[in-house]
């Protein structure tokens, strides 16, 4: 039988969770885009 966790999700939870994964990913994507521009130089 399952026990439910009692925590609700606040907007702050969502911002922190998505920021935690989104910021490093965005940094990596920007670095790659900048490197990719060499193809068009």
């Amino acid at each position: 039988m399952a026990t439910q966790t009692a925590t609700g999700t606040t907007p702050l939870h969502l911002i922190l969770a998505w920021g935690f994964v989104g910021i490093p990913l965005a940094w990596g994507v920007i670095e790659t885009v900048l490197n990719s521009l060499k193809l068009f130089q």
Partner: protein
């Protein structure tokens, strides 16, 4: 007595059932915490050159490791990924995502630490064991750990949900590659390359990152549905409402047809992915420099990542089977067009063809969990997905071998380097025709493979 240590404590599936008010959009970041770490495997090649100069520092010494020997580290990890996902899939499914993510984090982080010891001892076998075997187990368990959880949270958009996680695997190299280079620069001295220290930092950071994912992941309560979502009342021919037991799935032709669909799609993509830099320079000699070729590889990586989210999301609207039809039909046309782009000297057409091809390579990975869910139900989809990943391992061998050997055969027989890839492209196009036919033959699973109600209820109780 749910929730006790006897029933698995904080790791048991019963302890992570979400309560009222939990937002399902917390689950994709949990999945991304794992996939953004294990996807580092795609960037492992940044260590190859530094590891070939551990003794000589500025250049390879006679006792330094050869690049061919170092190449085995990645190969072992990918093979172990497939094996551990196949063998551990049922355990992941029944033990729940938190236990699987925690174990994956231990193996992935621990693998880096053992590999660091191998660098310190200058013993390549210890690195094979650390990154290849232990890390490979972390790769396999981590890859499949969030899949069925995401599908349960997003019954209305299963393709998009799994596409988000698998997009993280494709995008992880964007973080790992510059981060690894930066760390090695920080730890290097005139007498030291800094690889071991970089491995230690990465191992600790990745372990902590994956533990955040394990902490925030939740399972939906039994019978939970998203607000406003009404399950279709009319049954769709290609989307089952039943469940197939993990090992029974192996007895169905559908499993093996999807295995070949994935294998052929990946073989075609992986073959050119590894050769993209050399291919662009040899097909357009003097016009594509090494620096521009590196930019081309980066651009392809972006399309690889974006395609995972895009195509998996599209599959929610047009269906999985139609999505793979697009991959194979459009892929065939694009592979057949590449030689003409070379003959016409059109770099733009060449780049466009490969970017779309690679988006469909990534899309193939991201769409397949939802395809399996449509065919075999949600109960064991993670475990079945794990077994299907052996197709990836097989493709990891087929693809590069096909491209390298066909190219070498042509060069040895006097074909100009610029033209040597043309036959390879036509072979890849032919593979996609076979994939198209495999996809064509996929029909709904025969109901004799479905779990009966009592079995489904029994396993459901364990949730």
């Amino acid at each position: 007595m749910s929730g006790s240590l006897a029933s698995g404590g904080v790791f048991s599936p019963g302890r992570i059932v979400a309560g009222p008010g939990f937002n399902r959009w917390m689950v994709p970041p949990a999945a991304l915490c794992v996939h953004l770490c294990i996807g580092q495997a795609y960037a492992f090649s940044v260590f190859n050159l530094p590891m070939s100069k551990l003794l000589g520092i500025s250049q390879s010494a006679p006792d330094d490791w050869k690049l061919t020997d170092l190449g085995w580290i990645f190969s072992i990890a990918i093979v172990v990924l497939g094996l551990s996902a196949a063998i551990g899939g049922r355990w992941v499914e029944e033990g729940g995502p938190r236990k699987a993510m925690f174990t994956a984090g231990l193996c992935w982080g621990g693998g880096f630490l053992v590999a660091a010891l191998g660098v310190y001892m200058h013993n390549l076998w210890v690195i094979y064991l650390g990154y290849g075997v232990i890390g490979g187990i972390g790769l396999g368990l981590g890859y499949i750990s969030p899949v069925s959880t995401l599908i349960k949270w997003f019954p209305d958009r299963p393709g998009m949900a799994t596409g988000m996680a698998i997009m993280g695997f494709g995008g992880a190299a964007f973080i790992a590659s510059p981060l690894s280079v930066w760390l090695m620069r920080q730890f290097s001295t005139p007498t030291h390359v800094g690889v071991a220290e970089t491995f230690i930092v990465l191992g600790v950071v990745y372990f902590c990152f994956m533990m955040v994912g394990a902490a925030i992941v939740r399972l939906p309560a039994p019978g939970w549905l998203p607000a406003g979502y009404v399950p279709p009342t009319q049954s769709k021919k290609m989307i089952t409402k039943n469940h197939v037991f993990v090992y029974d799935a192996l007895k169905t032709p559908q499993f093996w047809l999807i295995w070949w669909v994935l294998c052929l799609n990946v073989t075609a993509g992986i073959g050119v992915l590894g050769q993209a830099s050399a291919m662009s320079q040899e097909m357009f000699p003097g016009r594509v420099t090494a620096s521009a070729a590196a930019g081309f590889v980066g651009l392809m990586s972006l399309f690889n990542m974006g395609g995972r989210f895009f195509w998996a999301s599209v599959s929610d609207y047009i269906g999985r089977k139609n999505t793979y039809f697009v991959f194979f039909a459009l892929g065939f046309l694009l592979y057949a067009t590449v030689p003409h782009s070379g003959a016409a000297g059109s770099i733009a057409l060449f780049v466009l063809c490969f970017c779309i091809i690679i988006s469909m390579y990534g899309g193939g990975f991201a769409t397949v969990p939802a395809y399996l869910r449509d065919m075999f139900g949600t109960r064991y989809v993670g475990a079945i997905h794990g077994m299907l990943l052996t197709a990836w391992s097989a493709a990891g061998v087929f693809g590069p071998v096909l491209v390298n050997y066909i190219r070498q055969y042509n060069v040895d027989h006097g074909v100009a380097k610029a033209d040597a890839y043309n036959i390879t492209m036509y072979v890849m196009a032919a593979l996609l025709v076979v994939g198209f036919l495999c996809n064509l033959f996929i029909t709904a699973v025969n109901e004799r493979h479905h779990m009966v109600a009592d079995e489904s209820d029994a396993v459901g109780m364990a949730d």
